[in-house]
């Protein structure tokens, strides 16, 4: 027995020594990070948003390849540490805490608004720059945050005006029951009366609703001729549109205006959403040279596994490039320098045209309206030109967390 005790003691000592060496090694690694940078990339690879998450991941990986092929950052490589938030704000928080503990230099994330609200305190606490590679409702002005996608205030009013021109005026709003869905529904309700719309009803469904028949009946019985859909997530859109078509709702509505049915999701929905409209800064069918280059690079890298990119995944591409530009301009990965540089760089190669983030933490971009075809793709029917985001942050957020 005595022998065992000694052995155990020796074993614990060895373990302790090993962990000490490990910590030292880890420390030197942390210090030697003068070259290159590590970005925590968080998106949904499981759960109901996973299709868009995977598309975002592909865009981010493509951008990392391009950055590294062009010389990388700070003379070293740009690396991604990937996290799966499982389409769930709770899981997202754990993933962020893990990545923050691993001391990533920045976060680039493509997650729902519900997850964004949950995770950003982690970046704030650790004072790590975060770029939101997504479109969202606007108004998030944390000192560590930039948003590379568009925000609804850039497009809701002109979009409603366009829908009004299609000769219908009685609106029903259906949306996903998360903060984004409700905030955007409120924007619609606020902008609609001035344009001559009346709002007949609204309904919010939880994610992963499989039976939409009561909601469909309610929409029809309301007598609405315009449906504004703020449903997020692929399964919900697929379920809603398939059921809406097969129960005749699509035929009895004059106009269907989507707010969250991007190219990626539309492909899964297929012909069921035919004729409905969508407003976005990016559509896959954009014929610009920059977009064609982006699409063919994705195709070359991922082949048949390529996911069709849309407004919710393309910003990942811009975000990675913008971050690389900012780090190279700042000459360091230090938080406040990078955040300041982010408001000074321009990414010329974006499929949308040049992207420039402002100290107001958002970006101007061209907005288009497109119509869904029989094949499950969008065809652009109107260009609204470059839309400036209304002022979001007042007072202007600082670059990084204020020192205590």
């Amino acid at each position: 027995m005595q022998l065992f005790a000694v052995r155990e003691y020796a074993f614990s000592l060895a373990l302790l020594a090993a962990s000490a060496i490990g910590v030292c090694a880890w420390n030197t690694q942390a210090q030697s990070k003068e070259k290159g940078a590590t970005v925590g990339f968080v998106a949904e690879f499981s759960g109901n948003i996973s299709l868009i998450g995977e598309a975002g991941m592909q865009s981010a990986q493509l951008a990392v390849d391009e950055v590294n092929a062009a010389g990388g950052v700070l003379g070293g490589k740009l690396e991604l540490k990937v996290g799966d938030d499982a389409s769930d704000p709770g899981t997202a928080l754990q993933v962020w805490e893990k990545l923050a503990a691993e001391k990533v230099d920045a976060f680039i994330f493509r997650e729902t608004s519900a997850a964004r609200v949950a995770v950003l305190p982690v970046a704030e606490k650790a004072n790590i720059p975060a770029i939101y590679a997504n479109a969202y409702e606007g108004g998030d002005c944390r000192p560590v945050l930039y948003t590379a996608g568009e925000i609804e205030p850039q497009k809701v009013a002109p979009y409603l005006k366009f829908l009004k021109s299609k000769g219908a005026s009685k609106i029903f709003i259906v949306g996903s029951d998360i903060n984004w869905g409700r905030i955007v529904a409120d924007m619609v309700k606020k902008a609609a009366p001035e344009l001559g719309f009346t709002i007949l009803g609204e309904e919010f469904t939880p994610y992963n609703t499989t039976d939409y028949s009561p909601v469909i009946t309610k929409i029809r019985n309301s007598g609405a001729d315009v449906l504004i859909s703020a449903l997020g997530g692929t399964p919900d859109n697929v379920a809603f549109f398939k059921q809406a078509r097969s129960s005749g709702l699509m035929q009895s509505l004059k106009v269907v205006g989507n707010l969250a049915l991007d190219d990626t999701t539309l492909q899964a929905v297929g012909s069921a959403a035919k004729g409905s409209y969508m407003v976005a800064s990016y559509f896959t069918s954009d014929s610009s040279q920059a977009n064609q280059k982006y699409l063919s690079a994705l195709k070359a890298k991922f082949g048949n596994d390529m996911k069709v990119p849309g407004i919710y995944s393309e910003p990942a591409y811009d975000s990675v490039h913008l971050y690389a530009l900012a780090v190279n301009k700042a000459g360091t990965t230090e938080t406040s320098a990078v955040l300041k540089a982010l408001s000074e760089v321009v990414f010329e190669g974006s499929p949308k045209g040049a992207i420039r983030l402002t100290p107001d933490r958002h970006a101007a971009m061209p907005i288009y309206i497109a119509q869904a075809t029989q094949e499950g793709t969008y065809k652009v029917v109107e260009s609204l030109g470059v839309q400036q985001p209304p002022k979001q942050c007042d007072p202007q957020p600082s670059f990084g967390m204020p020192k205590k």
Binding site: G47, D177, P206, S213, P214, T234, P235, S246, A268
Partner: protein
């Protein structure tokens, strides 16, 4: 109003189809099969395989049932068989099985959602001012065939007599020469086949992902819990819960609808501890 009634009937049909396999396993074997949701998911993936290969979508129904039957049989022989008479252990074991199946499916098909071809597509037809979707008719038809078919089997065939004998008194049935082991194997496999079949029926109008079974096993469990052991009671329970969900979604909010499916059986059990079946039997 007519359309609301149709919605209730459709949702009730789906509830019935999804829970009938669970009821059969519970009634004959006394086992709460929490792997029911996993078999439902397997049925969904059978439909995915059919879609990916471009086969006729109708083929997903028999394929799902056959795959469910075979896998159910294997699981009964390997796992469930060793746990009879230990209800709590079977709940744990079948739940574990469900987790394993979910992980294998994630590994094979990826974790993201997939979509399958519609079995019944086509334009809705109009009756008065009500639009009727062909898919709704299809789900109602499926539930009717299952309900009537199973009732006939239980009432009028030798298999039904054996099943009823085992339900009433397993020990006595064994002394009469009924091979209860064999009955159990087939019952478990049949329950699994029904679950997988239900999976293939419901996915064309929604989507398939490795975790799709979890909310459905909760729904099926609630429907069976409220019903107790009896097919007519299961029908009543499915209609009741479907009405609660559909009407609450329509008149109140979708969240209230999903909530009622869970709250309703709990209230009911407070009044009738053995479910609707005791209420039916007392008449």
């Amino acid at each position: 109003m007519l359309e609301l009634a149709l919605n209730v009937i459709t949702t009730a049909s789906v509830f019935f189809t999804v829970s009938v396999g669970l009821l059969i396993v519970l009634s004959i074997m006394g086992v709460v099969n929490l792997a029911h949701g996993a078999f439902l998911t397997i049925g969904g993936y059978a439909a995915v395989v059919v879609s990916q290969n471009g086969w006729n979508p109708w083929f997903s129904l028999p394929l799902a049932a056959v795959v469910g039957f075979i896998l159910g049989l294997i699981m009964e022989l390997i796992v469930a068989r060793r746990l009879y008479g230990r209800p709590l252990d079977t709940i744990l074991a079948t739940w574990g099985l469900a987790i394993i199946v979910t992980q294998i499916l994630s590994d094979q098909f990826g974790r993201s959602a997939q979509f399958v071809d519609e079995i019944v597509s086509g334009e809705p037809f109009q009756i008065a001012d009500m639009f009727v979707s062909p898919y709704k008719i299809f789900t109602i038809g499926v539930a009717l065939v299952l309900g009537v078919g199973l009732t006939l089997v239980v009432r009028y065939t030798n298999v039904g007599i054996i099943a009823r004998a085992v339900i009433m008194n397993p020990a006595l049935a064994r002394t009469l020469g009924i091979n209860t082991n064999c009955v159990n194997s087939i019952t478990f496999a049949l329950g699994s086949a029904l679950a997988a079949f239900a999976g293939a029926v419901i996915v064309p109008m929604s989507s398939v992902d490795p975790h799709m079974g979890t909310p459905w096993v909760v729904t099926a469990f609630m429907v069976v819990l409220a019903a107790g052991i009896s097919l007519p009671a299961l029908l009543l329970s499915a209609v009741g819960l479907a009405a609660a969900q559909v009407l609450a979604t329509y008149f109140l909010a979708p969240v209230v609808g999903s909530l009622l499916v869970i709250a309703f059986p709990i209230l009911l059990l407070r009044l009738f501890p053995d479910g609707i079946s005791t209420f039916l039997r007392s008449r």
